[in-house]
Symmetry: C2
Subunit: 231 residues, 2 copies
DNA sequence: CGAGGTTTTGAGCGAATTCAATTCCGGTGG
DNA sequence: CCACCGGAATTGAATTCGCTCAAAACCTCG
């Protein structure tokens, strides 16, 4: 744990379009702790009281619900730069668990720091507002996929969106989700995900090597989306 | 259109836990217009630029996505007291359409009024934050239903939640959604929804009369939820 | 090289959709 | 007041899609 350099991550990245004065940053960022965690780490658990929020500096994290009773459902994937876990400001219990899919490096912002930011920095609240608005859109997107598409459409849609999310610049983009996890995100069983992806690899729609994939025939993937959803 | 009485609705209900001083309310609420609209009215349309937010004083509204190309998906149902449509503060285009399922009465808050509230009333932003946090939870709930349950489970879950949302006090709760719309919410086809509900009516799990339903065997509905999702 | 987990593949089954037809219901006009 | 119309709900039969169960092929790591 070290608090140095956090001015470039936690507070800064949160207050994207809010202007926080230097002194405040200086005073607050000592309370933010930066740290690493290996893949598989559970940052927090559904049903427990929230004690901090995080900024994800590097890696991928899944937010998953219903780990307990039924079948788990991944509700969101977080990539570098995202701020998450701030529901402590409004809720007693976490509504999902956060689990690292890769080694991660993040900054931890304890609840009281959040509270300070919220009351003392109007820019913070506004930034938070924008984030949640975007999060809401993402989850709505997911709901639409789950509600209106069948297996192939969901998978094609995911691949295309995942590429976008990771920037088209990278050719081989990391895919740190197992087939099972893809299923938990897309509401499908492992076998279904595997069957479709295996076939698409045979048909050269994309390649896969060591946890990374490369899309080859984006048009055919997009074509799947056309055919898939009913008229 | 009348602006009277809006201090009791729009601004007040938004600033639930923010304290707005009387003078400000007085000054602002003249810009909020109250009005009625019949069932079927489209308050705003997906893809158009947002020009106002609304407070729903009476009635039920559906937020629906993808009206255009594929199959439509209802992403949220709004009931009396809810504040919605404020994405204009952050986004260029509406991400879903808002359509009245019943006759509605609502207050309209034009964009510039929202802007004023946001900059001049810290309580407003905080309240908005809480709303969106709750909205996010609701949509996540929906995603979980869609991703992990099969037909019967989704319908049972909906009935139970709908009752809760309308308050257990009312015995005959209004169900202003057609079977088709229920399908668009739950990711099912009309026939599937109809089959399940018709059977449950035969088996006296609930009754239906003139657009209203009454749950009779909540336990058996809950039992469906247990059996439904895989272990 | 071997162990354990993940991915892939196959066969059979069950669930939900599609297509098609019938019944129900509210509202309208005679 | 009653017959009729049109949209919504219901029901049936056939089909497709995704799931389950089970086994084989693959890695990856020790």
């Amino acid at each position: 744990m070290q608090s140095s350099d956090c001015e470039n991550c936690a507070i800064r990245s949160v207050a994207l379009f809010g202007e926080i004065d230097e002194a405040t940053v200086e005073r607050l960022h000592h309370q933010a702790q930066q740290f690493d965690a290996p893949a598989g780490t559970e940052l927090y658990t559904e049903g427990t009281p929230p004690d901090a929020a995080f900024t994800l500096r590097e890696g991928v994290i899944k937010l998953v619900r219903g780990d307990g009773n039924g079948r788990p459902q991944i509700v969101r994937l977080l990539v570098r730069g995202e701020f998450f876990g701030a529901e402590g400001l409004f809720e007693e219990l976490r509504h999902h668990s956060a689990i690292a899919l890769t080694p991660v490096v993040l900054c931890r912002l304890p609840n009281d720091l959040l509270q300070q930011l919220q009351t003392e920095e109007p820019g913070f609240t506004t930034a938070l507002l924008g984030r949640w608005r975007r999060a809401l859109n993402e989850v709505e997107d997911l709901a639409v996929e789950l509600g209106t598409r069948k297996a192939e459409g969901r998978i094609a849609s995911f691949l295309l969106h995942w590429e976008t999310k990771n920037g088209h610049a990278i050719e081989w983009l990391p895919l740190p989700l197992s087939r099972t996890e893809l299923g938990e995100l897309l509401g499908l069983r492992v076998e279904t995900v595997s069957r479709v992806m295996a076939r698409w690899k045979r048909e050269k729609l994309f390649e896969e090597r060591g946890g990374h994939i490369r899309l080859l025939e984006r048009d055919r993937l997009r074509a799947v989306l056309e055919t898939d959803d009913a008229a």
